[in-house]
Each structure stands twice: as structure tokens, then as C-alpha cells.
């Protein structure tokens, strides 16, 4: 999409959405978290130093402020990610129902450790702390879809279906 407003670095659609977010708060800075989610989506799922500079300019805050936020929150990625982000819960309820086995399976079958991306660029795996689906453990979030009561077979089936 052609950049038209804002600081000219983002699509017009995104700028419109950020401007609508600004209306919700007495201080624009408060829209940073929701806006960074949108920006991350528009920029291939991660927030590079260049993207951070662009966002800082749009919000009129220092680059370092946004860099600090990106480093603090687990859902923002300071490094490139695969086409899909797989978040595997590792906390107690999931662990008691097989999360460790799932992690071992991911390491063996997909050849990646926590935080790494598969060689074909399809998946980035991240171990997450409690994802709040303890009653249907173990679980993973793949992008914005949840998959519960996982087994290694089920995990493979979900991932195989994704390009």
C-alpha cells in the first residue's frame, strides 16, 4: 500500500489505525503496545532497528524507549522470525501433561531449540510461560490459533497443514 500520511514510513491503512488508537488515550504514548502489534504484522513479524526508528518517529518518542519495550515483552521480536510463530507452553500444568516431550520432539524432528527458526523459514519456535489453557494442557499457539490437548502427532498434523 502507498504510504500517504503519518511519517510516510507506514501504509496509509496502518497510520489510520494508529490515529484511531490515539483517540482512545489522553496521551499518545499509551497506544504504543497496540500500535507495535500492528507495525510488527506489517513488517514481516518482527521489529528491526529501522522499524523501531520509524515507529519512534511516528510516536515522537526516543528510539531507545521503543527498543526497551521490544526487549521487555515476549511477543515482540527483535530478530527475524519464520512465516509462523509457534508458542509452546512450558509451565507446570502443561509440563505435567507432556510439554517436555513436545519440546524434545520439536528439537528432534524440526531441529530447532527455543527461539530458533527452521531452516526452511517456516516456523519459529518459542517456549512461552503459562498460556492460560491449563485445563486443556498441553497447548500451543500457532500465530493466533490455539491447539490444545496436544500430542506429538497432533502437533505434527497442525504444522504440516501450514505452508
Amino acid at each position: 500500500m502507498r504510504p500517504v500520511s503519518g511519517n510516510g514510513k507506514f501504509s496509509a491503512e496502518l497510520v489510520k489505525r494508529v490515529e484511531a488508537l490515539w483517540e482512545r488515550y489522553p496521551d499518545r504514548k499509551a497506544a504504543l503496545l497496540p500500535a507495535l502489534h500492528l507495525i510488527q504484522k506489517e513488517r514481516d513479524g518482527w521489529l528491526s532497528d529501522e522499524t523501531i526508528r520509524d515507529a519512534a518517529e511516528l510516536f515522537d518518542v526516543p528510539d531507545m524507549h521503543i527498543k526497551g519495550i521490544v526487549g521487555f515483552y515476549d511477543m515482540f521480536h527483535g530478530q527475524p522470525v519464520g512465516r509462523h510463530v509457534v508458542r509452546l507452553c512450558k509451565t507446570l500444568s502443561c509440563k505435567l501433561r507432556g510439554a517436555d516431550e513436545l519440546r524434545a520432539h520439536v528439537r528432534e524432528k524440526y531441529g530447532v531449540l527455543n527461539g530458533e527458526t527452521t531452516a526452511d523459514g517456516r516456523f519459529t519456535f518459542k517456549c512461552f510461560e503459562c498460556l492460560g489453557h491449563c485445563e486443556v494442557a498441553p497447548m500451543m499457539l500457532v500465530d493466533e490459533e490455539k491447539h490444545t490437548e496436544l500430542t506429538t502427532d497432533k502437533l505434527d498434523a497442525v504444522l504440516e497443514a501450514l505452508a
Partner: protein, 437 residues
């Protein structure tokens, strides 16, 4: 058949697929409480009713909700409600049920709170890892806005209130109320020193009430049915019904709406939930999330209510009950907990930042069977020094469970000391799959 029965008030219509829509919610009596309050009650009367009901916050700390609302000062400054939907305490998955299945209930409770405290803006801070809750809540707000239930002159009265969803981005600490506010303002989620309490100085230094999703859902039913009715449910100190999340080694995991004070913790787990379901006996129970002490099988005969569980040496916390059987190493469970808190420490306070990392490494050493003589004492000493020396309660949320594991499963820790490892069932039991970076 178990003598324990669910008593569904908040989850009454959770199985009705229409309940998440405005039409469905209204069909089942939704927004009647808001109508009642706006037509026939003053804001103070709403607060009085909530106070009289004995409702205690469901986010973990159990503070009386009506009392909290009374702390909001008379002032010309704007006032805010921040709904705590950050649900990240290990084992907790109850607010999610309300948001995904019945989001209007949370919205109606939020509007009632705003009316009571005189707020014209509410932000619902939902953890970023709950995309389904975020979407369901946003949809509910849009529908309500179109129907004149959110925005200017609600139901034709002079009460106006805007409500917005604010997504978090993955940080447990943002569930702590002051961290939630700092995060909402567009920063790293750093807790603030209290006082001032948020009710006096919160968002943009204005009075702000922070309430858990379930607490607000309760308010709807208190206004509909009255404080006396609410007090007639549960028991003294734990009035009303509460949502409990049962997970781990349990035959019937799930989220159950229960009245406290009617049965024991053992009856709940062994009778109602069918025991571990693994054919093995219970070894440990975390009755209120991972931030409180573990209970052993001989400690489960306490009545199931906040005060009794507290007397037994733990807490019902956020209503998350995690159970494990005797196939599990207690040291390994303690390591999982230590990893959680060391990952989630915001890093502001030295005892918490350094201490949580140290605790994690120490417990991992026991887990690998590589601990040294004196490491148990070291672990207790490090954790003692974290207790009560930090800005927020996250440090204690690590100290209390870890110390309880050392005290109650000491022989397993001793078995993690190198030279003794070979002699114990759980000695060197596990190699952590991969340590968390």
C-alpha cells in the same frame, strides 16, 4: 455421584453459543443490572451494595472490592477503570472463559464499576496471548456501542462511558496492578511503589480502580440479586461463587464454579475431580497458582475456603489448583516454578532480579544431582533475603513456593547433592530439557 455440585452463576449460560452476542446475552437477562443501577440507584448505593456483599477480589490478593472503590477520592480529575485481564498466573484459565464465552458480562460489570466510581473511561487490559478473548471482547464492545450501552448517554441517562480493549504483549508482571498501569501508559511494565495506591493515583496520576475480570462479573449478579443473596452463597470470608481451575495430574481437569466452605480440598480433588487419573496417589497440590506454598497429601483436609486454606499454610490465590502425582520429582516442579519467576522478574529490584536467577541456577543444580553440601542452606538464605525487600510481590511469589518445596520435600533436595544422588529414587532424576535463555 459426588456430594459436590457446581453452582453456576457466572458460567450459567457458558454453554449457550449465543451468549457471546448482545442478543443472546440480553435474552438471558443481560444488562438488567445496568438498567437497574442507572434507573434506581445512586453511584454510592452501587458501591454500598458491593461492599455489603462481602465480595473479595478474584485476582489473587482477595481485597474487598467495595472497600477499594471507596478509596477513590472526590476530585475534578478524570477517573479510570483498568480491568485486569492479564491472566498469567500459572494454572489460571478462568477469566478466559468469561471473555470468550460471555464477554458482555465482563463489560456490564465494568460499566457498573465506572458508574459507581464516576469513571468515564475503562481500559480492558487483555494479555496479548489471548487473541480469542481480545476479539470476543472487541466484538462485544462494538455491539454494545451500537446499542447505546457504551459511549455517550448510556440508556438515555447522563452516564457516559467509553470502553477500550488494550492488548498486552507477553509479560506476567503486567498482571501486578501498578505494572499494568505503567504498561498501559506505553512503557515497560515496571511496578510502582505503593502508596500511592492506584485508587488514589493511577493512570496518568488520576484515580484508577484495577479489578480482575471475575470480580467485575460478580458485580453484575450482586446488583441483580442483592448483597444478601450473594452473602448466602459460599461462606463467611468467601462469599458468592468462585471459578476454580483444576489442572495437572487430575482425572477431570476443568474450570468449575463452586461455593466455598462446603467441602474439603481433598473431597474436591479426589471425589469431584476423580483423583489424579494416573493410577498413582497425589504427591503435591498448589491450591492457588504457583505463587503460594505447596500442600502435601496430609494437608488436604482443610475446608475449601480462603481462610481455611490460609490456615493450612497456603492460599486460594487466583483459584488455580495444580496437582501432581508421585511420579514427579518435587525438585523438578520447584525448578519449573523458579524458571517462571526468574524469566518474569522485571529487573527493577536487585534482590528479585539477581535472587531469582540465583535460585533458578541453584534449583537446577539439585535437579541435575550436582548440588554441593551447604546448597540447601544457601537456597534458604538467598530466598530469605528476597522476602520483603522488593517493590512488588513477585519476589515473594517465588520465595514462598520454593521454600515450601525445600521444607516439605527436603530429602529430595538432599538427594540432589552430588555424592548422595545415586542413592535416591529422585536423585539426579531429570535433566532439564533445555534451559530457558
Amino acid at each position: 455421584m459426588s456430594k459436590i455440585q457446581e453452582h453456576r452463576v457466572m458460567l450459567k449460560y457458558a454453554d449457550d453459543p449465543e451468549q457471546a452476542t448482545l442478543a443472546g446475552y440480553r435474552h438471558n437477562g443481560g444488562y438488567k443490572a445496568l438498567e437497574k443501577a442507572l434507573e434506581s440507584m445512586t453511584p454510592d448505593q452501587v458501591t454500598e451494595e458491593v461492599l455489603a456483599s462481602g465480595l473479595r477480589g478474584r485476582g489473587g490478593a482477595g481485597f474487598p472490592t467495595g472497600r477499594k472503590w471507596q478509596f477513590v477520592p472526590e476530585t475534578d480529575k478524570p477517573k479510570y477503570l483498568a480491568v485486569n485481564a492479564d491472566e498469567s498466573e500459572p494454572g489460571t484459565c478462568k477469566d478466559r472463559q468469561i471473555m470468550e464465552l460471555d464477554p458482555h458480562q465482563m463489560l456490564e460489570g465494568s460499566l457498573l464499576c465506572c458508574y459507581a466510581i464516576g469513571a468515564e473511561t475503562a481500559y480492558i487490559y487483555i494479555r496479548g496471548e489471548y487473541p480469542h478473548s481480545i476479539k470476543a471482547t472487541e466484538r462485544a464492545i462494538e455491539e454494545a456501542r451500537e446499542a447505546g450501552l457504551v459511549g455517550k448517554n448510556i440508556l438515555g441517562t447522563d452516564f457516559s462511558c467509553d470502553v477500550w480493549v488494550h492488548p498486552g504483549a507477553g509479560a506476567y508482571i503486567c498482571g501486578e496492578e501498578t505494572a499494568l498501569l505503567t504498561s498501559l501508559e506505553g512503557n515497560r511494565g515496571y511496578p510502582r511503589i505503593k502508596p500511592p495506591f492506584p485508587a488514589v493515583e493511577g493512570l496518568w496520576r488520576c484515580p484508577t480502580i484495577v479489578n480482575n475480570v471475575e470480580s467485575l462479573a460478580c458485580v453484575v449478579h450482586i446488583i441483580n440479586n442483592g448483597a444478601e443473596w450473594f452473602k448466602g452463597l459460599g461462606c463467611e470470608g468467601s462469599t458468592g461463587t468462585r471459578l476454580f481451575c483444576v489442572s495437572g495430574h487430575i482425572a477431570r481437569p476443568g474450570v468449575y464454579e463452586l461455593e466455598c466452605g462446603k467441602f474439603t480440598l481433598r473431597e474436591l480433588l479426589e471425589d469431584f475431580c476423580g483423583g489424579t487419573g494416573t493410577g498413582r496417589p497425589i504427591k503435591g497440590v498448589m491450591p492457588g497458582g504457583s505463587s503460594f506454598q505447596v500442600l502435601t497429601p496430609d494437608e488436604l483436609d482443610c475446608t475449601f475456603d480462603s481462610d481455611s486454606v490460609q490456615k493450612a499454610g497456603s492460599s486460594l490465590g487466583s483459584g488455580a489448583i495444580m496437582v501432581f502425582d508421585d511420579s514427579v520429582s518435587a525438585v523438578e516442579v520447584a525448578l519449573n516454578i523458579a524458571e517462571f519467576y526468574s524469566h518474569e522478574s522485571c529487573g527493577q529490584c536487585t534482590p528479585c532480579r539477581e535472587g531469582s536467577d540465583w535460585v533458578r541456577k541453584l534449583v537446577a543444580r539439585f535437579c541435575r544431582g550436582e548440588a554441593r553440601e551447604g546448597d540447601i542452606e544457601l537456597l534458604m538464605d538467598v530466598t530469605d533475603r528476597m522476602d520483603g525487600t522488593t517493590i512488588c510481590a513477585l519476589a515473594e511469589a517465588l520465595v514462598w513456593p520454593v521454600q515450601s518445596y525445600v521444607r516439605k520435600f527436603r530429602s529430595e533436595f538432599e538427594a540432589g547433592i552430588t555424592r548422595r544422588a545415586a542413592e535416591h529414587e529422585f536423585g539426579g532424576f531429570s535433566k532439564p530439557v533445555e534451559s530457558v535463555p
